[in-house]
Each structure stands twice: as C-alpha cells, then as structure tokens.
C-alpha cells in the first residue's frame, strides 16, 4: 500500500518545475553545515559561487551510450549484450541482485575495463580504457571505498582534484566547496580512518563530484550506510540530477531505484531483462493497479465519470469510497482526481495498491530480487 499523492511520476519532471538556475540564488541562502538537513540547498548554494557552467558543456544526444556490451570472465558471462542510453539530467538505475553484472557494466562504461564486444560513447566521444581525456566527463564512484585511510578528507579530495585535472588553486577552492556539500568541512583535517561508515561514503561520493562531471556513475553508494546518511546521499543525487547531471546508479535496493531513477534497467545474469520508467516496467507485469478514492459527495457520479477514462478498467462504489482498477495509477491519477472532483466528489484520501519492481523482477526472472 502506498499513500498518494506524494510523489510525482519522475524526479526529473518534478525537479525541472521548481528548479531555479544556480546563478539566481543569493549567497545568503548558504548553510554550509546543512548537508544532513538539506543537501540540495547546500549543493546549489555552493555551486552558485563558482564561475562557469555547473556541469560541463551542453551535449546533444545522450551523455552515455552503451551499445551491445559483452564481457566474459573465463566461464562466467558477466555481461551479455547490454545497451543503454542516458540523457543529461536523467537518472538511470541498474537494478539487479549481487552478481548480476552491474559493476562489470559500469567498469566498461567508465573506461576501466575493456569490453569483449560493444562500444561506449560518452558525451559523443567513443570511450575505451585508453581514452584518457574523455574520462574527464565522468565522475566514477566505486562500490568499495576508494580513499586513503591515513590521509585526511581534504588531502584525499585535493589529490583526486589534481588527478581530475584541476589546477592547484582551482583544486583548493573546489575541495572546500565539496567538503561543505558532503558535510565534512568541520572534520576535513582528520584522517578518514576515524570517520564513520556514512562519512566515508560521503567522501567517496564527493571525490566523484570534484570536477563537475557530465556523467556521475554511482556503484551501490548506499551499501552499509546508516539510514540518515543514506537519505542524505539519495537527496544529493536528486539534487545533482536536477542540475542537469546524468546519473548512472546501480543498486539492489528496489526502493532506491523507485525513488531516484527516471528509467530503470533490470539486470540479471549479465542481461538487461527490461528497461523503462517504473510505470512501464510495472505495466509489463500485466497486472493493474487498484485505486481507492475516499471522500464525500456524489460517489456514483464520480465512479461513472472515471470509468469513461480510457485507462480505467473498472469503477465501483464501495465502503464509502470509489474503487477503480486502472492500467497505471501513476499516469492516470492526476486525471482521475480531476475527473472525480469535477463529478462532485470531495476527495479526502487516496490509496493505491500496485505491483512494484519486486513484482516485476519476480515476473521477469522467476526469482526474488533479494534472497
């Protein structure tokens, strides 16, 4: 059971509506230590202080395109014919259980692993393990913590900032911004081995943001993280996406994919089983959503009006509410609400019972996403 109306169909749509370009924001909105509270605010405020476009040059066409990627390790067919595209501002989720081939796919997508077959195109340029310059467009955040435990957060960030090609001065300035964004400004001088798991994860992500990449690749960034840090990470990904960054996000948590991703690819045993928006994927299951509109007014008229909508399969009055079977509650709900209201129903609550990605995975692979 999911209570609505809570969330727009996709993050990107929602964000673009209330998205305010960075330059319009005044510095007094700044709350450098507010990362835990509102990473979005912190991110944007910080970005406002920096000259130039926030996320690289504008690209026409997809920021990342993978075509028919194949990779085999001995007998293991780790990745088998995976193709996907991600546009600027889009968050794409690779959802699959451990061993599905997510990390292997990502490794090829960021030029760390040579594909046996297929190609990767980043910002319009082909990418192989040897294309050094093209890697500047990508911010890769590996699944394991890849930070020096004996260096401080600031030293770690400066090191990678230089490797991402920032000049010493630019690196120093940008490092302070990122420290603020990831909420580690206060503890920037401490060796990272003293940090909590959540703090280390945030630093791990922060490193990938140093050079304002066009494409951010996050490999299971919330594994082993406390709920508060996890939420902060998810919010910052939403914020980055809202600013136009293309994000490739892998996870085996259904909730994260549902919450963050505009489109989701379901992977298992190295193959992309299905791809699409959450609703599209759920529609594959062939089941329909059940929507209950509770309220006062002319229930019968509301039911009749709703039933005339093309995506509504059935409508009936039950227990002081209107119960509807629809193709996709997500896409029909705004129209449904408008129609019911117009027909004289004062809606006080909406309940949707819908199949989720868990169901989709079960449907596609015959097994549960998590065992």
């Amino acid at each position: 059971m999911v209570a609505l109306p809570l969330r727009p169909a996709t993050t990107a749509q929602a964000s673009s509506e209330n998205y305010v370009p960075c330059a319009w924001r005044s510095p007094d909105e700044a709350d450098m230590s507010a990362w835990e509270v509102s990473p979005m605010a912190a991110l944007r405020t910080v970005d406002a202080g920096v000259k130039g476009a926030p996320v690289g040059p504008l690209v026409h066409g997809p920021v990342l395109e993978c075509r028919e990627l194949h990779k085999r390790f001995g007998d293991v067919e780790a990745v088998h014919g995976v193709s996907l595209q991600i546009a600027a501002g889009e968050t794409y989720g690779l959802l699959g259980p451990n061993g599905a081939g997510k990390t292997t796919t990502i490794s090829m997508a960021c030029g760390l692993l040579e594909a046996d077959r297929g190609e990767v195109i980043v910002a319009g340029r082909p990418l192989t393990t040897r294309s050094v310059a093209a890697k500047a467009a990508i911010g890769y955040v590996p699944q394991e913590l890849a930070i020096y435990p004996d260096l401080s957060a600031r030293e770690n960030l400066r090191f990678f900032a230089r490797l991402y090609g920032l000049s010493a001065a630019a690196a120093n300035a940008r490092v302070e911004e990122v420290l603020a964004v990831i909420g580690l400004a206060e503890r920037a001088r401490e060796p990272t081995k003293n940090f909590s798991g959540g703090m280390q994860r945030r630093l791990n992500i922060g490193i990938g943001l140093l050079h304002r990449p066009q494409l951010l690749i996050l490999d299971e960034p919330t594994v082993g993280v406390d709920p508060q840090s996890r939420n902060a990470i998810l919010e910052s990904v939403e914020a980055l996406s809202a600013e136009g960054m293309a994000v490739l996000y892998t996870t085996h948590y259904m909730e994260e994919a549902e919450r963050l991703c505009d489109r989701i690819g379901i992977v298992d045993l190295g193959e992309l089983k299905a791809e699409g928006t959450r609703a599209e994927l759920v529609a594959l299951v062939g089941e329909h959503d059940r929507v209950t509109l509770e309220g006062t007014g002319d229930l019968e008229a509301a039911a009749r009006a709703c039933k005339s909508l093309s995506s509504v399969r059935a409508a009936s009055v039950q227990d002081g509410g209107v119960q509807l079977i629809v193709d996709s509650a997500r896409s029909v709900l705004p129209e449904l609400l408008r129609t019911a209201t117009d027909a004289g129903l004062a809606v006080s609550a909406v309940e949707v019972d819908e199949p989720d990605l868990e169901t989709v995975f079960l449907h596609l692979t015959g097994k549960a996403l998590r065992d």
Binding site: L112, A133, L145, L163
Partner: protein, 386 residues
C-alpha cells in the same frame, strides 16, 4: 604534473605515520653508532698494562709499546681492574707482566707475559704489535747474552752495548699497501664503514617495505579509481616509481647528513658518492615496485621484503665487510647490488677514489636498476589493468 602529485602523495603518506621517523632516521643512526662502537677502528688501540714497574726491562718493553703510533697505554694496578676494563671494552686488550720479570731475564731464563683480549680484529692487531715488541726485546737480550759471555762483562753493561748496537742495526721493514699498490688511508674514521654499509642496507630495506604502499593503493581500489580519472596507466606507474625513488633518496640523504652531523663521518668525494647512492636508490626503486606488483597483500610482501632486505645486505657485505669473505663467497656476493655499492664505497672512503674510479661499479648498479625498473613497470602495468 600528475606524476608529481602521485609521488608526493606517497611521500606524504609515509611521513604521516610517526613510526616511520624511527625507521628512516633513528634506527639507522643507532646502528651506525653501535657498529662504530663495536667494530669501528678507533684512532688507536687501547692496551691496559699491569706490572709495568717490575723493573727496567719491563719498563723498556712498555715504553717501546707506547712509542708505537697506533697504541695507547692505560696502566692498571690490580689484575681485577684490568680484567674488568677488558671485559667492559674500556681497553682493547690487557698485558700482565709476571713478578720477577727482570730478574728472570737477567738470569738468562725465559719468561711469559699474559695477554688477554676480546676476540676482535683490534685485539688481533694489538697482539701482533705486542709480539713484535717482545721479539725486539728478545733480540737485544740475545745479543746482550753473547756480549756478557764473550767479553765477561756485567749483564747491565752488556745490555747497554746491545741496545746501542740495536739502534744502528739495519732492519727489515714491512710496507703495507692496497692490492693495487696505492697507500692505505689509515685515517678511516670509526663510523665511516658502518655508515656506508648501513646506508645501503636501509635504502634497500625501506624501499622494499615501501612495496606495501603500492599494494595497499591497489587493494583499496584507489589505483582503479585513479585510472577512472583522466590519468593514464603510464602516468600512474611513473608516479609510483617516482614516489618510491623519492623515499629511497630521502633515506639516503637522511643517513648521509645525519652521520655527517652526529658522527663526523667522511663520505669521500661528493660526486662519486652521489653517483653510487643515486644509482643504488634506482635499484631499490625498481625492486620495490617489482615486489609491490607481484604480491596481492601487504601481509605476503612484508616478510619477503624483510628477508630480501636483510639477506641481500648480508650477502652483499653490508653486515660483515666483503674483505673478510672467502673468495668464492665474495664472487657470489656480486649477484647483489649491495656488493657493487660496497666495493665502490671502499674505493671512495678507504682508498681516496673519486667518480672516475667508481664508474665501473656505478655502471653495474645502473644496469641492475634498468633491469629492475623495466621488470617492475611491465609487472605493475599488468597488475593495474587486470
């Protein structure tokens, strides 16, 4: 300058760990001090003497001993005190004249002097000195006995005539020189050889231990992450090599300057010494990176580093001097870079050599370095891209 960024980060990490100050600085200095105290050739060999007032002949013996340029006399009045002084190393050896030394000799009877020492090379040299003084005295006594018998003179006057004759008698002298005919520089300080052998031991040992940095960088996924940035494998490899080289050079510099400052060690001709040290550091760098690319965990590499670091140093003459090795062992020793570097230091520090005289050794060291670095680069590239 990403190569420099990678190298300086390695160096920074090394210095973050306080214990490294001990391994890089304190430990080498301590060992140089200990080796200097234990084996270093002091300016003079110290000999403790007991019973030197037994009579004229005993006094003459002691005076002759004291007149040798390499000995320093210390007088003792009890056997206990002398024995303790030798045991504690306050003197290198003890010499005890028996009661009635003069009387027995005047009666034409033999006499035995007690000589006791710790078993080291200084005591061996001292014994030779004591024996030569004893031989000289015996020679004069033999002449005096002949004079006394043939001329029926008193022993005292016979001895006086024999001694006068001995002063003008031609002598056979032994001239000491290096195998190539050059003169030995006998002024080599107490700490010189300890410092030059230890600099090699520590540069190599600490280079090899540094392999752990490379392994950790790879194990933590940092190497992979570096390669996800616009940084080529070649740059990463070069950065890691440069980092190891910087550490090796730092170690060498610390020992050279530290020993110069604290022990006044003579490091010979600067250009020659620099050439030997830099080429040796390059060998250490190659070996470190090779080791770091061959092992998957620091726990595996650690013991190997220690074994190779100490083993090669021992084999190559950094624990006992090559000069004391038997011929075959000395030949075998030359499979180690240490042996070549020690040989070069021996030329520079003991025989007044310079850059030109050590060029053959430097050449061999550079060849060692070329092989090690090439193998290391090849293996490291492989370990980074798989």
């Amino acid at each position: 300058m990403k190569v420099v960024t990678i190298a300086t980060t390695d160096l920074r990490r090394l210095l973050h760990w306080r214990a490294n100050i001990f391994f890089l600085f304190v430990l080498p200095m301590l060992l140089i001090l200990l080796l200097g105290a234990a084996f270093g050739a002091s300016e003079k060999a110290r000999i403790g003497v007991l019973g030197a007032n037994e009579g004229r002949l005993a006094r003459q013996f002691v005076a002759a001993l004291g007149a040798r340029p390499s000995t320093e006399l210390h007088r003792y009045t009890s056997a206990d005190a002398l024995q303790q002084a030798v045991a504690r190393g306050r003197v290198d050896a003890g010499l005890e004249f028996p009661a009635g030394y003069d009387a027995r000799l005047q009666q034409g009877r033999g006499v035995t002097i007690g000589y006791f020492a710790r078993p080291n090379s200084v005591a061996q040299q001292l014994r030779a000195t004591v024996q030569s003084v004893a031989a000289e005295q015996s020679r004069t006594l033999a002449a005096a006995q002949v004079i006394q018998r043939d001329l029926k003179a008193s022993f005292a006057s016979a001895l006086a005539r024999a001694q006068a004759a001995a002063a003008t008698t031609p002598r056979v002298l032994v001239q000491l020189s290096a195998p190539d005919g050059s003169a030995y520089r006998t002024t080599a300080g107490r700490f010189d050889s300890g410092a030059s052998t230890q600099v090699l031991l520590f540069v190599f040992l600490n280079s090899l231990s540094g392999a752990a940095f490379l392994i950790e960088t790879r194990r933590l996924g940092i190497a992979r992450r570096i390669l996800s940035t616009p940084t080529s494998t070649g740059t990463l490899v070069a950065g890691q090599l440069l980092g190891r080289l910087a550490v090796a050079l730092l170690q060498a510099l610390i020992i050279v300057l530290g020993s110069l400052l604290f022990f006044g060690v003579n490091w010979g001709e600067p250009l020659g010494t620099a050439a030997v040290l830099v080429s040796f550091c390059l060998v250490g760098t190659g070996a470190a990176v090779l080791l770091g690319s061959l092992f998957a965990s620091e726990q595996q590499a650690g013991p190997v580093a220690l074994l190779l670091g100490l083993g090669l140093a021992a084999l190559g003459g950094s624990m006992a001097p090559l000069e004391v090795f038997p011929n075959t062992a000395r030949t075998i020793a030359h499979v180690t870079p240490h042996a070549w570097a020690n040989e070069a230091f021996s030329k520079l520090l003991k025989h007044g050599g310079d850059l030109v005289t050590v060029l053959p050794q430097v050449g061999v060291l550079l060849a060692f370095a070329a092989v090690a670095v090439t193998a290391a680069v090849w293996r490291l590239r492989h370990s980074l891209t798989v």
